[in-house]
C-alpha cells in the first residue's frame, strides 16, 4: 500500500503549496490595496506632490505615464502591426523575415534594463534628445515592439485561410482582402495584444530611469523634449529615497495601488474583449 501513502503525501504537499502560494500572492495584492485605499482621494489623484513628497498627490506622474503610453504606442503600433502583417501575409521565408523572427523572439526576452541602456545612449546622447518624453517613448516603444509583433502575428495566423481564399476567389486584390477580411477578423485579438502592451509599458521602470523620468517637476511637461514624472519611477523614488520614510509611505502605497489598478483595468478589458468575442462566435 505504500504507493497510496506516496500519493497522499504528494497530493497533500501540492495542496499546501497551492494554498500558500495563492494566499501569498493574494495577500500581497490585498496588502497594497488595503494600505493604498487609505491614501487615495481626490487630492491624491489631482494634485502635485508637496512638502518633500509627504503630501499632495501624484497627478504629474499619472500624466507622465499617460504621455509615455501614448507616445510609445504611437511608434510601436504602426511599426509592429505592419511588420506583423508583412511577415504573416506576404511572408514566405525570405531572409529579412527570418532575421526579424529570430530578433523579435530574442528581444522579447531581453531584460528591460538593457532597453534603458540602449535608449540612453542612442536617444538621449547620440541623437541628442536628452532625457525627454521623446527618448522615453522611443525606448518603451522598442520594449513593446516584440510583444506587439508577436500578438499581431498570432492574431493574423488565427484567421482561417478559407477567409482569404474566399475573398481572393471573388476577385479582390490581396490588399483589399487584408483590409476588408483579414484585419477585421483579427482585430479583437490584435486589440488584446495592444492592451497587454499598454499594461506592460505603464509599469516599466528600468527603461525610463535614464531616458525621461524626473524625480520631481514643478509643472507638467509641455513639449516632447521635456522630462516627465512617471508612476513606476515615482513609486521607486518614494520607496527608496525619501528623507522622512514614515511620512512618504502612504504616498507610496497610493502610487502602488494606482499601478495595480492600471494592470487590473487592462486585464478586465482583455477578458471583456475575449468574452464578447466568444459570444459573437457562438452566435454565428
Amino acid at each position: 500500500m505504500d504507493r497510496k501513502i506516496k500519493q497522499r503525501i504528494a497530493f497533500t504537499t501540492f495542496r499546501i503549496f497551492s494554498v500558500s502560494v495563492v494566499l501569498m500572492l493574494v495577500s500581497i495584492l490585498g496588502f497594497i490595496v488595503f494600505n493604498g485605499a487609505k491614501a487615495i482621494n481626490w487630492t491624491f489623484l489631482t494634485a502635485s506632490p508637496t512638502e518633500g513628497m509627504t503630501a499632495g498627490g501624484i497627478f504629474p506622474a499619472i500624466v507622465g505615464t499617460f504621455y509615455l503610453v501614448v507616445g510609445s504606442m504611437l511608434f510601436a503600433l504602426p511599426l509592429g502591426i505592419t511588420a506583423a502583417i508583412y511577415t504573416v501575409e506576404y511572408g514566405g521565408e525570405t531572409r529579412i523575415i527570418r532575421i526579424m523572427r529570430i530578433m523579435t523572439n530574442n528581444l522579447a526576452g531581453v531584460p528591460s534594463v538593457v532597453f534603458g541602456l540602449f535608449g540612453m545612449t542612442l536617444f538621449v546622447n547620440k541623437m541628442g534628445f536628452g532625457s525627454s518624453l521623446l527618448a522615453g517613448s522611443l525606448t518603451l516603444a522598442l520594449l513593446a515592439l516584440p510583444l506587439i509583433i508577436r500578438t499581431t502575428e498570432e492574431a493574423l495566423k488565427a484567421v482561417p485561410d478559407s477567409y482569404r481564399t474566399g475573398s481572393l476567389a471573388l476577385g479582390a486584390t490581396k490588399l483589399t482582402t487584408i483590409r476588408r477580411v483579414v484585419l477585421p477578423a483579427a482585430f479583437p485579438n490584435i486589440l488584446t495584444g495592444i492592451i497587454l502592451s499598454v499594461g506592460r509599458v505603464s509599469g516599466e521602470t528600468a527603461p525610463i530611469l535614464f531616458t525621461v523620468a524626473a524625480y520631481f517637476l514643478p509643472h507638467l511637461p509641455d513639449s516632447i523634449f521635456d522630462q516627465a514624472m512617471a508612476l513606476p519611477y515615482h513609486l521607486y523614488v518614494l520607496a527608496t529615497s525619501g528623507t522622512d520614510m514614515e511620512a512618504t509611505r502612504p504616498m507610496a502605497y497610493g502610487t502602488a495601488l494606482v499601478l495595480i489598478f492600471i494592470v487590473l483595468l487592462m486585464n478586465a478589458l482583455v477578458s471583456l474583449l475575449r468574452n464578447s468575442l466568444k459570444n459573437k462566435n457562438s452566435n454565428e
Partner: protein
C-alpha cells in the same frame, strides 16, 4: 477610365507591399542595431586605459618597478600595500603622491598664472624621492627622461573584468572593474529564486491541472495570470516594506536587504509565469494516455509521474528556463531589496548586487563614453547573452 482605375489600384497595391516590407526591414534592422550598439560600446571597455583618462603614474627612475596592475595601484593608494618590496622593489616605504599634495606644499603664488610652474615643481618632488609614486594629469606632468619615468599605459583586460573580485568603478587613480561579485550576486539571487519558485510552481501547476475542480481552476488561473502583469517596482516595494523587515527579524540580521530577500521576491514574481506555462504543458497531456494508465490500476500520482510528466517534460523545462530568464534580468525589485553591496557573496544572508541592479544604479553617474559607462554596457551585453541563451534553450526544448 476603367483602365486608369485599375492601374491606380495596382500602383497602390505595390506601394503598400513595399511599405509593409520596409516596415518589416526597419524592425529587423532596429533590433539588429540594438545588439551591435550594445556590443560596440561594451567591447570598448577593453580599449580603455586602466587608469583614469588623461592621467598617468610617474616614478623615479631609480625605482626598479616597471609595471603595476590596477589592483596593485588601488592597494597602494588605499595604503594596503605600503612597501616596494611587496611589488618586487626595494624594502622601502611607498610614498603615494597626488597632484593635490603639491598644492599643499607650495603656496599659491608659486603655481604660476596658468599652472605653468607646476610641472617643474613636480619634477623636483619626484626626482628627490626614489620611493614616490605620483598620480598626475598628463598636461602638468614633469618631463620624462633620465630621472623620471612614466608607467606604461595598459588597457583593461578581459581577465581583469571577468576574473576581478573588486567592483570599484569610481576609484582613483585606477578604477576596478571586476565583474565577479556582480556575476556571482546575480547567480546567487537567481539560484535562490529558482530554488524557491520551481518546486512551488510545479506543485501549484499539478494541483491546478490534475487535482483542482474545474471551478477552482477557473477562478485561480486568471488571478495567477493577473499577478504576472503587476509591475516589478510594486513587488520591490512590497519586498522593502514587508519581506525585508521580516527576514531581518527572523534571522536576527543587521539588515534585511539580503540575497535571500531578493531571491524570495524574484520567486514570487517568477511563479505566475512558471505556473501558467507549466500548467498549460501538463494540461496538454492527452486524456487517452491518462485513462490508459489509470485503467491499468496505476494511482493518480503514478500516472502523473509516469505518463503526464514525461509527456509534458519539454513544456515544464521551457517554463523553468523562462522563469530563470526573468529572474536573471529583473532589475527594479532586486535593486530595491538586495542592499546592493558589490562584494563576493558568501551566504544568502548578506547584501549582494546583481548585474541589472548595477546598471540601474550606476548608469546615471557614469560619464558617457568613459570606462565606467562602457563597463556598464559590457554588463548589459552579458545580460543580453544570458537571456538570449535562455530564450534559445526554451525554444529548442519546447519544440522537441
Amino acid at each position: 477610365m476603367m483602365k486608369r482605375k485599375g492601374k491606380y489600384k495596382k500602383v497602390m497595391e505595390r506601394g503598400t507591399e513595399r511599405l509593409l516590407s520596409a516596415s518589416g526591414a526597419v524592425t529587423g534592422i532596429v533590433i539588429l542595431f540594438i545588439v551591435i550598439f550594445l556590443f560596440r560600446e561594451g567591447i570598448g571597455l577593453f580599449r580603455s586605459p586602466d587608469v583614469e583618462k588623461g592621467y598617468a603614474l610617474y616614478l623615479n627612475t631609480k625605482n626598479p618597478v616597471e609595471q603595476l596592475t590596477p589592483y596593485e595601484i588601488k592597494q597602494i593608494f588605499d595604503s594596503e600595500i605600503t612597501s616596494w618590496d611587496q611589488l618586487g622593489g626595494p624594502n622601502k616605504a611607498i610614498r603615494p603622491y597626488r597632484v593635490d599634495d603639491i598644492f599643499k606644499e607650495y603656496p599659491e603664488e608659486e603655481w604660476g598664472d596658468h599652472y605653468e610652474l607646476l610641472s617643474g615643481k613636480l619634477e623636483e618632488v619626484i626626482k628627490s624621492d626614489p620611493n614616490i609614486i605620483a598620480f598626475l594629469p598628463q598636461r602638468y606632468a614633469p618631463p620624462v627622461g633620465a630621472d623620471i619615468k612614466e608607467l606604461p599605459a595598459k588597457n583593461i583586460t578581459i581577465a581583469g573584468f571577468f576574473g576581478g573580485k573588486e567592483w570599484l568603478p569610481t576609484a582613483t587613480p585606477s578604477p576596478l572593474f571586476g565583474a565577479l561579485p556582480l556575476i556571482s550576486g546575480t547567480l546567487l539571487v537567481s539560484f535562490l529564486a529558482i530554488l524557491i519558485a520551481v518546486p512551488l510552481s510545479l506543485g501549484v501547476a499539478i494541483f491546478l491541472s490534475e487535482l483542482a475542480t474545474k471551478k477552482t481552476r477557473q477562478v485561480l488561473k486568471p488571478v495567477i495570470e493577473l499577478l504576472a502583469g503587476i509591475p516589478s517596482v510594486v513587488y520591490g516595494f512590497f519586498g522593502l516594506v514587508v519581506l525585508s523587515p521580516a527576514i531581518q527579524k527572523i534571522f536576527h540580521l543587521p539588515v534585511g536587504e539580503t540575497a535571500l530577500t531578493g531571491g524570495m521576491i524574484l520567486a514570487i514574481m517568477a511563479m505566475p509565469t512558471i505556473i501558467s506555462v507549466a500548467e498549460d504543458a501538463l494540461d496538454n497531456t492527452p486524456r487517452a494516455l491518462k485513462e490508459a494508465s489509470l485503467a491499468l490500476g496505476a494511482t493518480k500520482w503514478q500516472t502523473i509521474c509516469k505518463v503526464v510528466f514525461p509527456y509534458a517534460s519539454s513544456g515544464i523545462v521551457a517554463a523553468m528556463v523562462l522563469g530563470i530568464g526573468r529572474a536573471i534580468g529583473e532589475t527594479m525589485a532586486v535593486l530595491m531589496v538586495t542592499g546592493n553591496a558589490a562584494v563576493m557573496p558568501v551566504t544568502p544572508f548578506e547584501s549582494v548586487r546583481t548585474i541589472p541592479a548595477t546598471i540601474a544604479a550606476e548608469l546615471g553617474e557614469a560619464p558617457a563614453g568613459g570606462a565606467h559607462y562602457q563597463a556598464l554596457f559590457l554588463l548589459g551585453c552579458i545580460l543580453f547573452l544570458i537571456t538570449t541563451m535562455t530564450t534559445v534553450i526554451a525554444e529548442f526544448v519546447s519544440k522537441k
